[in-house]
Symmetry: C2
Subunit: 516 residues, 2 copies
């Protein structure tokens, strides 16, 4: 077999079943190899940010990597922003990036670029295969990096075209993946001691895998034993929540609100997250948000086994088997009439189906939905981990591919959704069960707030126009239908309720344009 | 003034008049500074590839840099592909990329990335300002790099937020820009000798600034004196052509066709271009396209003054004042009925207005238009220089901003146009005089050809589906109207003629979806 076939066969033997692809000429042998590997699904994205964002959504839900297929350095460049988000989410992803044949590189043909240089800033590991025979081995190593770096890492393989097409290769055995690193016993003892001896308010601050249902049960036991509050990082890769699960409070986004929220705590124990910092710096405001003089204890880092650490801590505290802070089912009344973020959130919370997955890039208009869904039916809530907007639609694509039996809701601001609007086409092509809700306020609304927060006084019309998307207003229903996803525009609570009810009653992609 | 104001004032004093922007929180001080600089126009793009592609189009036509405004490393990442194309076009561009405040970087907040690492692969020069006072100096140096590296270079400035907002800065004087480097006298003598003594067919191979009208006049004089043929590089940043100008033949795209095209030449003189190589490597096919044993002479590199070199060569050859190879006005009959690339090209050639600018990313369906427009009214033809598709719509945006009195035609394949479809919104917002023609064949058609060329036999349905855009078919008219650009779908020659006539008769953006 040729190098491409050996590479793909090796990845498939590792358990890689999905290839999100936007290939070009230099990747045709890789396309052919995916074609011949009958167990591997190939999903086309019409822009590379869709491909990498989908791999992120897939990885978050499947807990194993998809492989992306990208076209040389520039194609990888288009995928970087969502790789950045995926890396911050610690999602396992393998990128395969075609490059010119090794002997062609020095000619400086038009598409020649420093592919390794493009890969490095957003990858945890980058390798160029050394030969067609080495390609399969490189694939196995990439899988080892992606899955071995708990919970996941970004591994990028640069594949010279001649390594892909040359014959005489063979697949290699999958690597052995070590179990997740364990938090040291001393860290568990220190956390137990800190919570037991705390003389003021205390909290368990949770991120990463600590926000999964099983880990939260242990966190709830610890809360039961110690009375500590449970707080989640502001942007979580995947938070399992809803009625019947252990409830966790959310750290606010704005630095000064987050600082005030944390101010009372004398003891903070961290599991799956580091002490929080402000998202941006602002003149005269602190970056570090934990209260001065408080005791900060790391129970487990993002890269350590959160479930084991929380279980060990709960046991060390002789915590009861039953967790505290079980979330009660809650709904909120939806004020009729003009649609706004509050009645939209109330209706979403009321109608959210069991086991839904919400890909949330709702930004300023989505916060109410997140709060109101806390007591909705059980669901997974996926957030924008790296701050680079344009993640939510691709993430929904990947989540829907990973979990075909679960309804996916993409809750998205209009500004962010424009970056990767091409994801709608993939939803249509693959008939993915995604209901996209575009929160259309015709604005980069967050920037109107941030403009003041960074100290800009009296912004002029030119500055304000840079934050405004109303001239012309974007018609998301037309965009959606143009890409094959049925769409409806609503501007009242009643209209939204009808549209969402209808979308949830049917399988397949829909878009609801919520005019706010 | 603060660092941002000093920076922007310095750029404006250098002659930078346009800022293509997609800012975020870390760039709010830069937005405010652009706002206060009343001479600088700010143009919003809803995706960074639109921003960098527009800066490329602007730079090609204005022959000076626009400044881009991009949001940290991930935002810059989204702009890399079109920076790659711009760099291959040798377009002057200044990127300003916001970054976290210097003291905030070490906290590893969600948007933290290696911005310098992201910038380096597609920039000729990268610098992080050292302080708020240094920011203006960095801006002046960036301008010096962008304009001093004839014809142009990509200069990227990373702007930490605290450097932008800190007071106590002052603008600095624009740098002195050295004239274009001259081709050495020995090169001119060698080229003259080679053309005079050539014993077989000879050609002058032209690229870069050698494809401008004034340089082509000199090339036509040389052709008159020596009988050499004039050949243009396959993908030119800006080729001034049309009836009354000196005609140049085009080197074909596919390597074996290009090799056959060049095979007869015993002598090749290069001006503004290097000896051509195949775009991609293919198994068993050569990368190097010049005939074995031919004499290859470099008259001037891309980075040397092409007009001066051609003038000196013509004079050294005692060439007549009148150039040979003046293009006669030509039109082609347009077969009525079903629209195809041939009758579309014939109609475009017939209707193309004087001084039009064509941004050509027509790919497989656009080649006929390029050939047929050779004898149309005078125009500038801009091509995809770096091979990373998704350049043509943004390039049209920038060209229209640079040349508000000229009609811009964006001739674009459907696959490529999807990558940066957001450019349509900027066309609508700025009421740019761009007629976009989408060549909708529902396919990455070139890849169907390349699949065979790289040696893939009997591709299966999964491979073929990776090259197909028909399921679902994209409705470009809906996309266009959704972003505020009036659109029409046509599938006959008559329909296309009517639509194009109408679009050319009115100022402002239009889209014609040509169903092929």
């Amino acid at each position: 077999m040729n190098g491409a076939e050996a590479f793909i066969e090796t990845l498939y033997a590792c358990g890689v079943e999905v290839c999100f692809a936007n290939p070009g000429t230099s990747e045709m042998q890789l396309v052919a190899a995916v074609d011949r590997q009958h167990g591997m699904r190939a999903i086309l994205g019409l822009f590379e940010g869709v491909v990498t964002g989908a791999a992120d959504g897939y990885g978050r839900m499947a807990e194993k990597p998809a492989v992306t297929l990208l076209h040389l350095g520039p194609g990888l460049g288009n995928g970087l922003a969502n790789l950045h988000n995926a890396r911050k989410a610690a999602t396992p992803i393998i990128n395969m990036v075609g490059d010119h044949a090794t002997y062609h590189l020095h000619y400086d043909a038009p598409l020649t670029s420093d592919a390794v240089g493009v890969a490095r800033p957003m990858s945890d590991w980058v390798r160029v295969s050394k030969s067609n025979r080495d390609l399969a081995q490189t694939g196995a190593e990439a899988f080892g990096v992606a899955m071995g770096g708990y919970p996941g890492r970004i591994a990028t393989v640069i594949v010279p075209a001649d390594h892909a097409w040359s014959e005489g290769s063979a697949s290699v055995a999958p690597p052995v993946i070590a179990p997740a690193p364990q938090s040291p016993a001393a860290a568990i003892a220190a956390a137990a001691e800190a919570l037991k001896s705390a003389e003021g308010p205390k909290c368990l601050f949770l991120g990463g895998r600590a926000l999964r249902e099983d880990a939260l049960v242990q966190a709830g036991r610890i809360a039961s034993a110690t009375g500590c509050r449970l707080i989640a990082e502001t942007f979580a890769a995947r938070h399992q929540r809803g009625a019947g699960r252990v409830a966790v409070e959310k750290l606010p986004y704005f630095g000064e609100q987050a600082e005030a929220f944390l101010a009372e705590f004398k003891t903070l124990v961290f599991c799956g997250a580091e002490p929080p910092v402000s998202f941006f710096a602002y003149p005269g405001k602190p970056s570090w948000l934990s209260p001065e003089g408080a005791e900060l204890v790391r129970l487990a880092s993002l890269r350590e086994d959160a479930l084991a650490a929380l279980t060990a801590l709960a046991d060390a505290l002789d915590a009861p088997a039953e967790p505290a802070l079980i979330q009660a089912p809650t709904t909120f009344p939806a004020e009729p009439g003009k649609l706004n973020s509050a009645n939209l959130g109330a209706i979403l919370a009321e109608l959210l189906p069991e086991d839904a997955i919400v890909s949330d890039e709702g930004a300023t208009q989505g916060g109410a939905s997140m709060l109101m869904c806390a007591g909705a039916k059980r669901h997974d809530w996926l957030q924008l981990t790296g701050g680079s907007i344009g993640q939510g639609l691709p993430l929904a694509v990947g989540a829907a591919v990973a979990c075909p039996d679960r309804k996916v809701i993409a809750l998205h601001g209009d500004g962010g959704a424009m970056y990767t609007n091409q994801a709608l086409w993939t939803m249509a092509r693959e008939n993915l069960d995604v209901t996209t809700i575009i929160l259309n306020n015709g604005s980069y609304a967050i920037l109107n707030i941030e403009l003041m927060r960074v100290g800009v006084q009296n912004p002029g019309p030119k500055a304000l126009s840079m934050l405004d998307l109303k001239n012309p207003a974007i018609n998301w229903s037309q965009l959606s239908e143009g890409m094959g996803v049925p769409a409806v525009r609503v501007d009242t609570a009643e209209g939204f309720r009808d549209a969402l009810t209808d979308a949830l009653a049917h399988k397949g992609p829909r878009l609801i344009e919520a005019l706010l």
